[in-house]
Amino acid sequence: MQFCPDEGPEMSSETNNPPSDDEPSEVEMSESTAEDSALDDLEEVQPEDATRPKSIFSSSASQEEQRLPADSESSEPSEPSESSMLTKGIVVLVILGLLAFWLRADWQNGCASEAIKKRDFENAEWWIGWSEFVHPGNLEAEFLKARILRLQGDFQASMDQLEVAKDAGLDPKRAERERTLALAYLGQVNQVQDQLGDLLQNPGDDAHEICEAFVMGYITTRTFRQAETIADAWAKDFPEDAQPHYYVGVIHRENGRWEAAQAELERAVALDPEHSAAARELGEVLVIRKIPAEALKYFQMSQKQEDSQMLAGLVGEVQCLRALGRSDEARERIQAAMGIDPLDSAVAFEAAQVEMDENQYDAAIVVLEPAVEANPRDHNLRNAYAEALGGVGRTDEAKEQFDHVDAFKNKLREAKVLVEELTSNPDDPDKRYRIGKLHLDYGDPKEGLIWLYGIFNYTRGHLPTHKALADYYEANKDQSPRFAELARAHKLMSEGRFMELMPQEGMPQGMMPGGMPGGMPQGAIPQGGIPAGQ
């Protein structure tokens, strides 16, 4: 776990002295050099700046910590001198000062906020827990808990927690702002985009959160131009923040601008080498660009941070090792991945390829059979399975599997054509409906749901879409308790029975599919959801 005070000097140095293009980037500096530079800056620029208590405090502490050993060396060890007594006194004072500061709720909450910005929720929750322990029922802690829930994608729990914070005295305007960000983050940007200007006029401490919520929302709804505009402004105003570069990289990737995606993601990783999502994304872009040797480094880097996508980094590593012909290492790494989740479709696919690269078709079948059963809509996995069956001479079974893949892929090809056609008329809801339906029926249902809910950005009452959604949720209601509610709601909407829908149906007012401005209600996507940021 990383303790918040350690980050103080670095934060201050960045704010005062951001790197210019001509100067060596901070990632090129050694740790001690960066810290020294930060200390120098503080001494020269703002040694007594009363508006920056934390920065000064933190830097002073570090300063003292750094100087103490040198002072000690110059002293006689056996007879404490006046200076060494003074030094010890300072140390005690510093420790006491630190302790006093550490016990302050705003400091703990500040550290929690900092951890939230880095999407290090475990650390954030630790700080919030400490804050609540020292200062039970403090408002900021309640608010930050709601924010964490929002960023974890649990909209409803986040809203409930906001209510708790409001009951405890949270400013209703702040609660409303958080709700706005939640809606944006979920992809319902069209409901809240009018508020973006106001939010940015008075961002408080939330400039980063505002930008991120809207960028994510626009990416989710595939309105990339708006997403890019905000992310660009964000990057300009926070030049040392990796996150906007990460998002711009994602936007470029989504638009097939691979070189630009690579450049942005490289910036993100250079700014924050611990940004595992950016490192992983960069690895994936480099794999697509057929530069596996480079990609390998980033996939390995992405695994230094444990997160939910760590497996993806491991799979990427295997892909690269195979592309580099390093089959023994590939086998070793895929075995590690299989140890984590052998049914994960990407893991099983790569494991099977490792086997088939060495003509071990029987072994590939052992891996693929359960994985295909667990991921029946993964056509690439099924294709590999068919290939493996063919490899052991089970040609009839192979043909059956190939035919299955063919039939489904032909349908998805239709969807691709429709996507191309959409470029000339992006507002066409019927075409969007057909794309969504094809994905829902033949491809990745998540992709289908995103397309279908996206229709509500263009038209409020597209009945076939409600019908398709109702059917989908009805057929899959055992996947999530939420699906039964959604099935009923969409069925009513598809039948034009808008009035029968009440806000307490489980969807917050303003998020009623179709009846109100569009968007995707909480819990509408099966587990895994939409790929989020770091």
Binding site: K54, D206, A233, A386, K399, E420
Partner: protein, 620 residues
């Protein structure tokens, strides 16, 4: 994207200013972003930039010199892009045929010449017409120089917008005939043997009026007469021409093939009397109107060879964005399409690629034939290794092909032993197809991949050429063919580039001749087959050269007389073997394509020559 920290220049909106104040406030409260942590082993952006290009290796021996001026060739393929219609027709480009039309022992060249567009107004309605332009026939002197003999030979073609040129001696008279493909039909020229050609398209029954591209000549039903497989692309026309937007409002982009439907290919089977019949249905070719599978394929490249090593000729069809086909022959000219089952339809991820150029080769000298397809950007060129009897495995990873980088939209391609070291290397002409590519450059370098041995396995390294070399500069490559133009035993490369003429890009790059000047050459053996019972040029015959290494072990190299191959182009039909220093000759075995798999073994021959071998007649 600006990265300036200068507040006066970087802040143009009030919201941006607000964000800055927010940053200041945030910093004061101690919530600024964390500083980047110095990362051990971190790769710096500058380093990535330098490493962004895939690695290339200087070859010890392989050298090429552009001799287009010396050759006296000044040919530019016209695609009509200057009219700015931005239609998919412009993107295909044209091919080149390398063949000895006058049987004087020196290779000649033919370049297909594309076409253009013209507008007419009839009763107030504007119509756009598509017309062809005259192609170019060049006679070679055997030393690398050429003269224009288009008029003399009467091979202008130009009836339609042309793409491909393909050679087959359909009447087995020893003089190769010429088939030109393109938008709107075929033009077939019979070589009269006196230095002139006569167009006989309709007379022989080539009634095709569709959009034809690649062609493979071969005897599929083993009746001794050449048959002809003709590929078709997609159902584009000015009546079926959707608008595809460019990067800015008002700019038009060339639409991708997936917006159109693929057209069914045709197999013209010889009647044995100099005429052909459409035998597509009998042959079992994919045809959507018959089998309703919606997968006719967007055909661009085709190669014929015996992938099952069972004595009959199979067909591999490269389709653009749709799965590739492998038609295996039952020996009668009836086929079963097994591309998927046999592992050559898709890439490793199970996706169909944008396949253009193709070849067949025994790249690892293991005694069977592997398949190769040059693909679209971000798709690895596909090397399908023959595992056993026509079952393949995508082998690009293991062979080093998947680490070449993403820059390439590959078209004309051919395997040949550039340095005569006993294994086949491969060349690819590259160039983009759209006007405003976002992922890779418009103009691209060609590739020469040297086949080297790494830990006992065949592996391909991108050869690094000097900066001034043609191979180090970017081009709009399309058709490509190989042949020994100067009779020195080293196969030369001919590339037909396409025009670029829109917006700020204007390039009328001519076709080029790249003379193989590889140094310290090994020995070579070129073989010319003369079929008697089988077809005249022995298409489909398999040649196995056995040499003995200095350590006493034997080295076997396999070649096949190929039908089709590369992209819209025709390689010289005479295969060349490289014979490394230290090897001694042992035997050359020819297996003629027939049910009886008639073999012939030659032991008395020397290297550094063109060996002519005549198929023995029955009982002879």
């Amino acid at each position: 994207m600006g990265r300036s920290l200068d507040a006066s220049s970087a802040r143009s909106t009030s919201s941006a200013i607000t964000i800055i104040w927010a940053l200041v406030a945030c910093a004061a409260a101690g919530c600024g972003s964390s500083a980047p942590t110095p990362g051990g082993g971190m790769i710096l952006p500058g380093e990535i930039e330098t490493q962004n290009k895939s690695k290339a290796f200087a070859s010890e021996h392989i050298r090429f010199e552009e001799i287009t001026d010396f050759a006296g060739i000044d040919f530019v393929y016209k695609n009509g892009s200057e009219h700015d219609y931005s239609v998919i027709l412009e993107s295909l480009g044209g091919g080149v045929a390398v063949f000895d039309f006058d049987a004087d022992g020196n290779l000649d060249l033919y370049f297909a010449q594309g076409g253009g567009f013209s507008e007419t107004t009839s009763a107030g309605v504007k119509e756009i017409g598509i017309h062809g332009l005259p192609s170019l026939m060049l006679r070679g002197d055997g030393a690398g120089r050429f003269v224009d003999v288009t008029d003399l030979t009467r091979t202008k073609a130009g009836n339609f917008y042309s793409h491909g040129c393909h050679v087959g001696d359909y009447d087995a008279d020893g003089f190769p005939d010429l088939l030109v493909t393109g938008y709107g039909g075929l033009q077939f020229f019979r070589n009269q043997g006196d230095g002139t050609f006569q167009e006989v398209t309709q007379e022989v029954g080539f009634t095709d009026t569709s959009w034809s591209t690649g062609v493979a000549w071969a005897d599929f039903d083993e009746d001794g007469h050449l048959d002809c497989f003709v590929q078709h692309y997609v159902n584009w026309s000015f009546e079926n021409d959707p608008h595809c937007g460019g990067p800015q409002e008002g700019l038009r982009e060339i639409c991708p093939p997936k917006l159109f439907k693929g057209l069914p290919d045709i197999l013209y089977m010889s009647n044995g009397d100099g005429t052909f019949r459409d035998a597509s249905l009998y042959a079992g070719l994919r045809n959507n109107t018959v089998d309703k599978r919606n997968d006719d394929g967007n055909g661009l490249g085709v190669i014929v060879g015996d992938v099952e090593m069972d004595g009959d000729l199979d067909i591999y069809v490269a389709n653009d964005t749709t799965p590739n086909f492998l038609y295996v022959n039952d020996g009668t000219g009836a086929f079963e399409e097994v591309g998927r089952q046999n592992g050559v339809a898709l890439d490793l991820e199970g996706e169909s690629n944008g396949s253009m150029g193709v070849d067949i080769v025994d790249f690892d000298n293991d005694g069977d034939f592997d398949l190769w397809a040059a693909n679209y950007e971000f798709e690895s060129f596909a090397l399908y290794r023959n595992q056993d009897n026509g079952y393949f495995r995508h082998y690009s990873n293991q062979a080093g092909i998947s680490r070449l980088g993403d820059l390439f939209v590959g078209f004309g391609t051919a395997f040949f032993d550039a340095d005569l070291d006993g294994d086949e290397d491969v060349v690819v002409a590259n160039g983009h197809v759209v006007k405003y590519p976002t992922g890779t450059p418009l103009l691209q370098i060609p590739l020469l991949l040297e086949n080297v041995e790494v830990q006992g396995q065949a592996y391909f390294n991108k050869v690094k050429f000097p900066d001034e070399s043609y191979f180090s500069q970017v081009h709009m490559g399309r058709g490509l063919a190989i042949g020994d133009l100067d009779n020195d035993g080293r196969q030369d490369v001919i590339i037909s580039n396409s025009s670029v003429d829109f917006a700020e890009n204007a390039s009328e790059e001519r076709a080029v001749i790249l003379r193989n000047t590889s140094i310290d050459p090994n020995h070579w053996l070129q073989v010319r087959l003369v079929g008697t019972a089988t077809t005249r040029n022995g298409i489909g015959s398999i040649l196995k050269l056995t040499t003995i290494r200095s350590d006493g072990t034997s080295r076997e190299q396999l070649r096949i007389i190929k039908g089709g191959g590369t992209y819209l182009s025709q390689n010289d039909l005479r295969p060349t073997f490289g014979i490394p220093h230290g090897d001694t000759l042992q035997s050359l075995q020819i297996t003629w394509p027939s049910k009886s798999e008639k073999t012939q073994v030659v032991t008395e021959f020397d290297w550094d020559q063109t060996l002519t071998i005549v198929e023995p007649r029955e009982g002879g």
